[in-house]
Symmetry: C2
């Protein structure tokens, strides 16, 4: 792959499972949203509290959609064991028994940032581009072949690094951020690798022909776009050129 | 409603929640599948072992679809609390922790009846009309408005009686049936009332206009058809006139 883009090079002959996995990691290294300038601004402390609020309330749309996406996926899985394997993704976010769940932990962040909880949950102030991207993700998982629906979760392979950078950077660089507010990311450090490992194993086993492997790559690229475009929308509205669409959240500063 | 059919009388003016509930029970009394002649044959011991096998393996299609239906419904619910309320319907059937789940309990029945488990799970021998009905149910829950998707579960209001009749009747009348084989129904005696109560409460609160109440009735009628048509298909193929479609299960007798 030297010199060429892993993301745009088509798979025309079947790769070994190891080579497919390597390709997926190369694509992540090219396109994961930790490379987005907004992420750099966020974790280096370059944003105002209002800009961090905008990020957190927009990102809530994505968080709230995850269990809907995963329940929709479960609803398409005929194999009971595979369906059971997928269940914890729903409960990780919705909560189960004593665990408050990831969505509630995200609301602890938005609470701590001084945002009204009902306003956040209503998603009224979220950027339309963010909502469209999140809706596109749910629809993709409902409608595309199961291999692609599952493969679209593979961005979790790259998640631990972004959570670590974000937690360390935000704790260090913002006086309005503390450990409690970062509990979502802290928990995901343990959850995401388990999820990613399962999806990767599924893909290694089930994408054996070149066309199937290209479908997996397409699914990963789709999902990378879903993540990237959310930061694009935030950057456009709240960093430069600060084009906040009508009805979207207006930071106080 | 005296003299008229509760099922076919349109709701043109909003009913009180109690009157709506009464109407739903009247419709159940008119159309629930405990009224089907096949059900009578089944629980009075009038069927051969082969006919009971045909029933159990066809009914497996319905059992296996329930968690797909309920996960699909969860995938459409934006309200986290409502989604969490619905979760146990998935785990009741798929199993969770120590509980083997309803699908596994149904396979204990088909095992006990001497059916090959892989054959049952493959659904290859199931009647196409049964499979179509089950698929229609999943599709209905995925595509119809949430009120109707939820209301389609209201047949559970009438389930405890059919489980009691079936358990008592089959235990008494078939020497190849024992308590272990009936464990699915025994467990549902406790689960179904909880489910039904929740859905009924939701419908009472959310169907207040006449058009919404008619939607609820339509959803119940749809679901009653899904259940009834499965017994029609079994009766046609295995009782009278014994028109078994190509590829469908052939009892040994």
């Amino acid at each position: 792959m030297s010199g060429a883009s892993a993301a745009t090079t088509k798979i025309t002959e079947a790769l070994s499972a190891d080579d497919l996995e390597a390709r997926l990691y190369e694509i992540g290294a090219e396109r994961y949203h930790n490379l987005h300038p907004f992420h750099e601004l966020l974790h280096t402390g370059a944003l105002s509290r209002g800009q961090v609020q905008a990020w957190a309330l927009n990102r809530y749309c994505y968080q709230a959609a995850i269990p809907m996406k995963d329940a929709s996926l479960m609803g398409r899985i005929e194999d009971r064991e595979l369906r059971k394997q997928w269940l914890h993704r729903v409960t990780d976010h919705d909560g189960y028994d004593e665990d408050e769940g990831g969505i509630m932990r995200w609301l602890i962040l938005t609470d701590g940032l001084g945002l009204d909880r009902e306003y956040v949950i209503s998603r009224e102030g979220a950027l339309p581009a963010v909502r469209f991207a999140v809706e596109a993700y749910i629809r993709y998982v409902r409608e595309q072949p199961l291999l692609q629906a599952i493969a679209s979760s593979l961005t979790e392979l790259f998640a631990p690094k972004i959570h670590r950078d974000r937690i360390a950077g935000m704790l260090k660089n913002y006086d309005f951020i503390d450990d409690k507010l970062m509990s979502y990311g802290t928990r995901r450090l343990n959850q995401a690798p388990v999820d990613a490992e399962f999806a990767l194993k599924y893909v290694r086993q089930n994408a054996v022909r070149a066309d199937q492997q290209q479908q997996v790559v397409d699914a990963l690229l789709f999902k990378l776009n879903v993540l990237w475009i959310q930061l694009d929308a935030l950057h456009l509205a709240y960093v430069e050129p600060k084009l906040i669409p009508p009805g979207a959240f207006q930071p106080e500063e």
